[in-house]
Each structure stands twice: as structure tokens, then as C-alpha cells.
């Protein structure tokens, strides 16, 4: 009977061990996610209540600590403003890179620096805005919600530009050429033809940038700081969820810590929602 040279036990074992190890390590990678979600639910759900969402933090240590209304509203206000600043700017810069900057020296320089910007720690952005806008008398000294929004916008900008560029590049050139051949000027081609067809991808990229900005603490520490009351005045101090959580964690008080867990749960839900919507959008509108 014909026989083949058998595979040695050593090799077989090495194969099983290696594959097992890879699988186990992948499981290890998921453990933190599970644990974070578990504790968020375990300790955060207890803090959630109607009051939690509708009252402002009172700042008192002994009595009722209050809820996080001003933090939630503040986050919404600041992030909304940051989005208003970052997304149109970012998309326009991405448009520039794709329509006029392909292969050109200047375009490459811009692209390189934008890439570099994605690696800058968020606290450095906060510092920058602090120096330029908060301490200098350029625009009025002091903390302000809108300054926080600027810091977040700086954070979002490189992300929007890079993802926007990728998406705009996917629009086939034949589409552009067809429009141009019909006599349309470049800017019309860009706004009426290219942007609309890239829109779903642009929305996805922007939503992901927003999700990232919503969770940032460091830039806001030096720019919008913290304040207890709900404020709709973007020119003054403004509360935000991440900063509120950060401050509460620093206190030794049980009730504040519980509130911090509840606020963290709220923040994570917000960020996850944005991320999931972005991914769902991406899946439904995939550019084939």
C-alpha cells in the first residue's frame, strides 16, 4: 500500500498551538470591549433617571448632586458648531485636493500636512486654541463654548479632509468629463455633479469625525472649561459631557461617581449611535 511521508507530530502540534493562540488572542482583544460595556451598564444604568437628564449639576458635595442636563446640551451645542465649521471646510479642501491637487506639488504638500495633523494629540489642539483664542486679547479673553468648538473643529478637520478625499476620488472621472464636455464650468461640475454623487460617503466620513469629536475631553478643558448651569451662550463657559465626567471622576464622592457612570453611558450611547448610523449609511450606499 502506497504511503505518503506523514506530517510530523511536531509540525502538527505547532500548527494547532499557533492557530489556537491566534484565536485566543483575538478573544483577548474583545475582552476589554465586553468589560467596558458590562460595567457601563452595571454602574451607569443605576444613575439614569428622568432627573438625570433634566436637571443641571448642582455642584454641591453634600446634597443632591443634580443631573447632567447642561452637559448634554453643551455637548450638542459645541459639537454642532464644530461640525458646522469643520465639515464644509474639510469637504472644500478635499474638493481642492481632488479637483486641482492631484499629482501637483502643492496638493501633495497640503495632503502630507493634513496627514501629519491626524497624528497630533488632541490636547495639543486644545493648547493651541488656548494660546491663540483664550489668553490672547485677540477675540476677548476667557473660556467660551465657541472656542471649544474651534478646538474640536481642528481635530475633525484632518479626518474629514482625508476621508472626503478618498470618497471624492471614487467618483469616476468619466462623470466629470461628461459634464465638462457639455460646457459646464468647473465649479458647477464640482458642486452639481461630483459632490452629490459622493454625498453618502462624505456623510459617513463626517459622522465618524463627529463621533470622535463628541468624545473628546482634553481640547475642551482649556477652551470651554466647565460650568454648571445650562447655557445657550456660546460666548461663555459651557459644560460638556466629557468634561463633566472627567471632573466627577476626580471627586471622591460616591454619588458623583455614580453620576459619572451614567454620563459615561450616555456619552457612549451617543458616540455608538453616530458610529453605527455612519456605518449603516456606508453599507447602504456603497459605491460599486
Amino acid at each position: 500500500m502506497t504511503a505518503l511521508t506523514a506530517v510530523s507530530g511536531r509540525r502538527r502540534r505547532a500548527d494547532s498551538v499557533a492557530r489556537g493562540a491566534l484565536m485566543v488572542l483575538t478573544g483577548v482583544a474583545l475582552v476589554p470591549l465586553v468589560l467596558v460595556v458590562y460595567y457601563l451598564l452595571k454602574r451607569g444604568l443605576g444613575a439614569i433617571s428622568w432627573d438625570f437628564f433634566t436637571t443641571d449639576p448642582t455642584g454641591s458635595f453634600l446634597g443632591n448632586p443634580g443631573g447632567v442636563k447642561s452637559a448634554i446640551l453643551g455637548t450638542i451645542e459645541i459639537v454642532a458648531l464644530a461640525t458646522l465649521i469643520a465639515v464644509p471646510t474639510g469637504v472644500l479642501v478635499a474638493l481642492y485636493l481632488v479637483e486641482f491637487g492631484r499629482g501637483k506639488r502643492f496638493g501633495n504638500v497640503v495632503r502630507y500636512f493634513v496627514d501629519v495633523m491626524t497624528g497630533v494629540p488632541s490636547i495639543v489642539f486644545g493648547l493651541f486654541v488656548y494660546i491663540v483664542l483664550v489668553t490672547s486679547s485677540f477675540v476677548g479673553v476667557g473660556f467660551a463654548g465657541w472656542k471649544g468648538a474651534v478646538a474640536l473643529a481642528l481635530l475633525m478637520l484632518p479626518v474629514v479632509i482625508r476621508s472626503g478625499e478618498v470618497v471624492l476620488l471614487l467618483v469616476p472621472d468619466s462623470l466629470r468629463e461628461a459634464a465638462l464636455a457639455l460646457g459646464a464650468p468647473r465649479w458647477k461640475v464640482a458642486f452639481r455633479v461630483v459632490l452629490p454623487s459622493a454625498l453618502p460617503g462624505l456623510i459617513t466620513g463626517s459622522l465618524l469625525a463627529v463621533a470622535r469629536a463628541a468624545g473628546e475631553t482634553a481640547p475642551l478643558l482649556f477652551t470651554s472649561a466647565i460650568v454648571l448651569g445650562t447655557s445657550f451662550n456660546l460666548d461663555g463657559r459651557m459644560n460638556s459631557l466629557p468634561v463633566q465626567i472627567f471632573t466627577d471622576v476626580g471627586q471622591a464622592q460616591d454619588r458623583l461617581v455614580t453620576r459619572a457612570w451614567g454620563a459615561a453611558l450616555t456619552l457612549v450611547v451617543l458616540v455608538l449611535l453616530l458610529t453605527l448610523i455612519a456605518r449603516l449609511f456606508q453599507r447602504r450606499n456603497r459605491y460599486t
Binding site: R19, L35, V93, F100, V114, F128, T217
Partner: protein
């Protein structure tokens, strides 16, 4: 064909002149966008200059060399020499790499090469979801879950393996190891995602060549996939490093914020980013202190720039290969 090089058809007058007004807007369009892009560049240059100027008081008082390499960060005496911060930054990031990169690459390998196809999508999303958790939430979780729960295990490790360098002694609650561990978790998604991309570029040809020689699955990964992906994975790790270096909030909550060079992994420590977040409030009226914090920010900026620029070059080389 590049859109930037398209020429309008010459002599196509009748079509071109449909609306002279809108044609005229074209140069403005191009110019407007160029100006915007230039502004972005200028912003970055601005950044650097501003940081430098505000850091100047501290840097000139202690000297750049003194600031970075001497160890004496004493707020009460208004002395700011940041070596302990630099060491803390490097040590926590190193721990993050040691713990995080193997897990991230293993997950990338598993998802792309070994796992059943139906699980691929779910596993990918789950690993990527780690990136969606905000830094402050990791910090919160680190303070109230990781630190108390790991302390006994850390103490056991410290006692059992005291013969190893950097191990041994009493375990502080918040410490450099926990900071490194949380950083490892935070860099996992980015290192894994890029490694995944790199591994996917390995041509099927090479994998088949290995299999056709009678290699087991692991052997195929070892001789055909990993060597090919090596430089890309290194680049991915460097990008992870860049992130770890700059991470502020989670670290400041769990590292202990003690400006001493840690002697063992369970000592308290401090990082450049954490000191900025931590001391900013109290530094407000002290221009030297503020200057020192900004100088720390500058050092951090330069460090992350260097790491990220190198990382990108390495990744691009790895993907293009």
C-alpha cells in the same frame, strides 16, 4: 486621467458660451479653494510658532536640554525639568506596544486568514468598536474597575517575579502598568485595522506556493504572509505608538500623576500629556508654569510628529511592496 489636467475642448464655442457669467466664476472657484488649502497649511505653521513663543520663558530658563533631560519637576519651587515626564511617556507607550501589538496583529491575522467567513464581519466590527469608546470613559473604567480588580494580581506578580528588572516592590493603585494597559487597549483598533489591510495585500500566489509545498496553515502564514506584511505591520505599530504618546485623559486618570521616574512597572508615574491636563488649572496665573506646560506640549508635538511621519512612510512602503 487627472481632472486637474483636463482641457476644455477648443473651438467648442457654442457650448462653452452657454452662460458667460457662470464661466467667469471658475477662476474664483479655483482660487478660493487654493486659498483655503493654503490657510490650512498656514494654520499648521502658526501652531508651531505659537507653541514655541509661549514655551519660550520656560525653555530659556531651563534650556531645551535641561528641560528635556533633567529630572526635577517641582511645582512648589517653580522648577520645571521634565525628564520624569519624558520617561513616563516613553515607558507607558512601550508597555502599550508590548501588550497591544501582538494582540492586535494576532487578531488581524485571525480575522483575515483563519476565521470562518461568517464571523469575519462581526469580529472586524467588534475590534473596531474599541476605537469608539471615548478616552474619558476608558479612564473612568480604569479608575474604578481595572485598578481595584488588578491590584491583587499585580501584587502577586510583583512578589513572584521580583527577580526580573523593573519588577518588585509595593504596588501603587494607579500606576504606569495600568496606564500602559489602557493605552494598549486604545491602540488596538488602529494597529489591527491597518495590519488587516496590509495582510490582505499579500498576493494569493505566494500563499498558494507555500501550501503547495506541503506547509500547514501556520507554516504558510509564517513563511508567506508574515514576512511580506512585516514592514506594513511595523508601520501600523508606529501609528499606534503615535497615538499612545499623545493620549491624555485616560492616562492622567490612572497613572498616578507623580513626577518621578518610575523604577518598576507598578510605580506611579507621569506623562507629558497628563501633566498638561492635570496642572493646567492651577498654573493659570503663573506664566513660568504655563510656559513649562506648553513646552511639554511642544515636546509632545515634536515627538508625535516624528513618530507619525516615520510610521506613514513605513506603512506606505509596506503597502506598495
Amino acid at each position: 486621467m487627472e481632472a486637474g489636467s483636463l482641457r476644455l475642448p477648443p473651438g467648442g464655442r457654442s457650448l462653452d458660451e452657454r452662460s458667460p457669467a457662470s464661466r467667469a466664476a471658475d477662476p474664483f472657484f479655483r482660487w478660493g479653494l487654493t486659498v483655503l488649502a493654503t490657510l490650512v497649511l498656514a494654520l499648521i505653521a502658526f501652531f508651531f510658532i505659537f507653541l514655541l513663543s509661549k514655551a519660550h520663558p520656560a525653555l530659556s530658563k531651563f534650556g531645551v536640554f535641561g528641560f528635556v533631560f533633567k529630572d526635577n519637576w517641582d511645582v512648589s519651587r517653580n522648577i520645571y525639568e521634565a525628564w520624569s515626564l519624558v520617561v513616563g511617556t516613553i515607558v507607558t507607550s512601550a508597555i502599550a506596544l508590548i501588550l497591544g501589538v501582538p494582540v492586535a496583529v494576532a487578531a488581524a491575522l485571525y480575522v483575515t486568514e483563519l476565521c470562518p467567513p461568517r464571523a469575519k464581519g462581526a469580529l472586524t466590527i467588534l475590534v473596531d468598536l474599541l476605537a469608539a469608546v471615548p478616552s474619558v470613559v476608558y479612564g473612568l473604567w480604569g479608575v474604578f474597575v481595572l485598578i481595584p480588580h488588578l491590584k491583587p494580581a499585580e501584587q502577586w506578580f510583583s512578589d513572584t517575579f521580583a527577580f526580573l528588572p523593573f519588577v518588585g516592590g509595593s504596588v501603587a493603585g494607579p500606576n504606569v502598568f495600568i496606564a500602559g494597559l489602557i493605552l494598549a487597549i486604545m491602540i488596538l483598533p488602529i494597529v489591527s485595522a491597518i495590519s488587516r489591510e496590509v495582510i490582505l495585500t499579500v498576493p494569493r500566489d505566494h500563499k498558494e506556493a507555500a501550501l503547495a509545498l506541503g506547509a500547514t496553515r501556520w507554516e504558510m502564514l509564517r513563511i508567506a504572509v508574515l514576512p511580506y506584511s512585516r514592514s506594513g505591520i511595523v508601520g501600523a505599530s508606529m501609528l499606534g505608538l503615535g497615538r499612545a504618546l499623545g493620549e491624555t485623559i485616560a492616562v492622567t486618570l490612572v497613572v498616578g500623576n507623580a513626577p518621578n521616574v518610575p523604577h518598576q512597572i507598578f510605580d506611579q508615574g507621569y506623562t507629558l500629556a497628563a501633566v498638561i491636563a492635570n496642572e493646567f488649572g492651577e498654573a493659570a496665573n503663573n506664566p513660568l508654569h504655563v510656559g513649562a506646560l506648553i513646552a511639554a506640549g511642544l515636546v509632545l508635538f515634536v515627538l508625535t510628529l516624528a513618530v507619525n511621519a516615520t510610521a506613514r512612510a513605513v506603512v506606505n512602503r509596506g503597502l506598495a511592496a
